[in-house]
Subunit: 341 residues, 2 copies
Amino acid sequence: MMGMDLQNGRVEMGHGAGGRAMARLIGQLFVEAFDNPILRREHDAAVFDLPPGRVVMSTDTFVISPLFFPGGDIGSLAVHGTVNDIAMAGAVPKYLTAGFVLEEGFPLADLARIVDSMARAARDAGVEIVTGDTKVVERGHGDGVYINTAGVGVVADGVDIAGDRARPGDRVLISGTLGDHGVAVMSKRENLGFGTDLVSDSAALNGLVADMLAACPGIRVLRDPTRGGLAATLNEIAQQSGVGIELMEDAIPVRGAVKSACELLGLDPLYVANEGKLIAICADQDAGRLLAVMRAHERGGDAHIIGSVLADQRRFVRMKTRLGGTRMVDWISGEQLPRIC
Amino acid sequence: MMGMDLQNGRVEMGHGAGGRAMARLIGQLFVEAFDNPILRREHDAAVFDLPPGRVVMSTDTFVISPLFFPGGDIGSLAVHGTVNDIAMAGAVPKYLTAGFVLEEGFPLADLARIVDSMARAARDAGVEIVTGDTKVVERGHGDGVYINTAGVGVVADGVDIAGDRARPGDRVLISGTLGDHGVAVMSKRENLGFGTDLVSDSAALNGLVADMLAACPGIRVLRDPTRGGLAATLNEIAQQSGVGIELMEDAIPVRGAVKSACELLGLDPLYVANEGKLIAICADQDAGRLLAVMRAHERGGDAHIIGSVLADQRRFVRMKTRLGGTRMVDWISGEQLPRIC
């Protein structure tokens, strides 16, 4: 088959029509970049063996705008997001699928950049992209590229991590600073030019989780505070576990630049999306050990114990402020940052 | 939480923002419709056991236009498509994920209709939708609803089905009439009004495949001729297996209404998408038995043996015409029917 013009070409409707143009796009771009024996069989489905254990499956569609942002792009984000969802169930992520919705006219060079970034993120995280799908929509019916990833992983015996397992007396830990992803994306989108020091924290957390589980198999809850930020994540856990949660404001790590940007934009870092952070809830007696393991990992250098689980039938999330007061940390009720992932 | 107005409400940006509005949409619409114990745990990932065997995983994003068409809608299609991709690997489909990209302003009543249709299709096919994701894009950056489904299934020992297993002398079978889906969708899209007798064949084929494998475990290739139709599917198989394929035109079942519509639209039924048909390739001595089993199933009543596999290093797909000639059945080279699935 003839080559595509990856430098100057653009996505055409035919790239999604099931014929030769689509076969060329898949062969020259996707299979080339994601190359692995399972994908190379080019069946409509991937076939593989999984190690024994409960299977974890997750999916996420990424519609982030802009597609390229400081610290990442929609491709790396699409890998990190699903890898992390699987890791947050205490599982080892293994295989991903990738589904693309391309808008007619989108530059193939940008698509190649995104696909290469996905491939790199997958290699770095130790997962394989084993099957995929490409659709093309007419100009004006998409926004460049939307990417869905779904993935599977396996949970080791003895690991039991879920949002309903937090118990009064447990401690709440965060793996690092809050708000980096959301603020980096907003600054790029709005051309705010906060300087080059603000980058997304988008990263795969499965390596960190593996270290944490090895040191502390009894971790009760893991969750990555993405859309809706720490506030939404903790409210979900409080709901599911039937408990209250109390945070200590002065223990929550937030970069100075993120703080300033949030003030300017009228945002609260507790509600801003993160893409490379996790919260963990564990028994009080495990918290010190867990914190040490997190801090020893490159993705957990700024880890802190930020709060505790309380008995509270109202399932409130509250925060002790720096000034000694207490304030509610409610769900956000509607839109905060649209299209942040 | 307060209710949503499912009768008159519309999708808002907040339905994708990770806060209370999104939780309400997920709880009241998706969890309600797809209800099952795995989904109800409301983790970001689903956790389940799989029976022993090789795992099959597949994904498809659906961008069909219009969303509702004679014989189905984007919801049922999204279930059938992924169930069928898994079944075509000879696997029993078990669990699906669902990822939605909603356009701001889309009527919640239409979304509810689509979600109910997905739920019904999943129940009918014997699969569970166990986790999902919802994103919202601004008005003018989508087209109502795009749905990604990914799924997993398990292959029984002894079954080895793949596109590279066709051998000279094998026979090619089709489970029924060609072109129904593509022509039904086009007639609705273009308001051609061919009458009410033209409906999509969108259907789950895992039951048919189970019967076929029980009777004939040695089936070599299964494939559903969706985008690009029978022509693209057979060319893929010829490429992968390194063989030629010869079809007999007068054995290929096409409804009269589809034939007429294709003539009017300038289409060839061999290139038109199907969503409830499969082709099977098996050894010559198995073909009669396989045909009988297919015809005994409600999804295979119009099954036919339509051709043979030949030794041909050029990997050509050809057709013996009714008039006794031979013509090439090439790949389509570009766009034929955009957004047909």
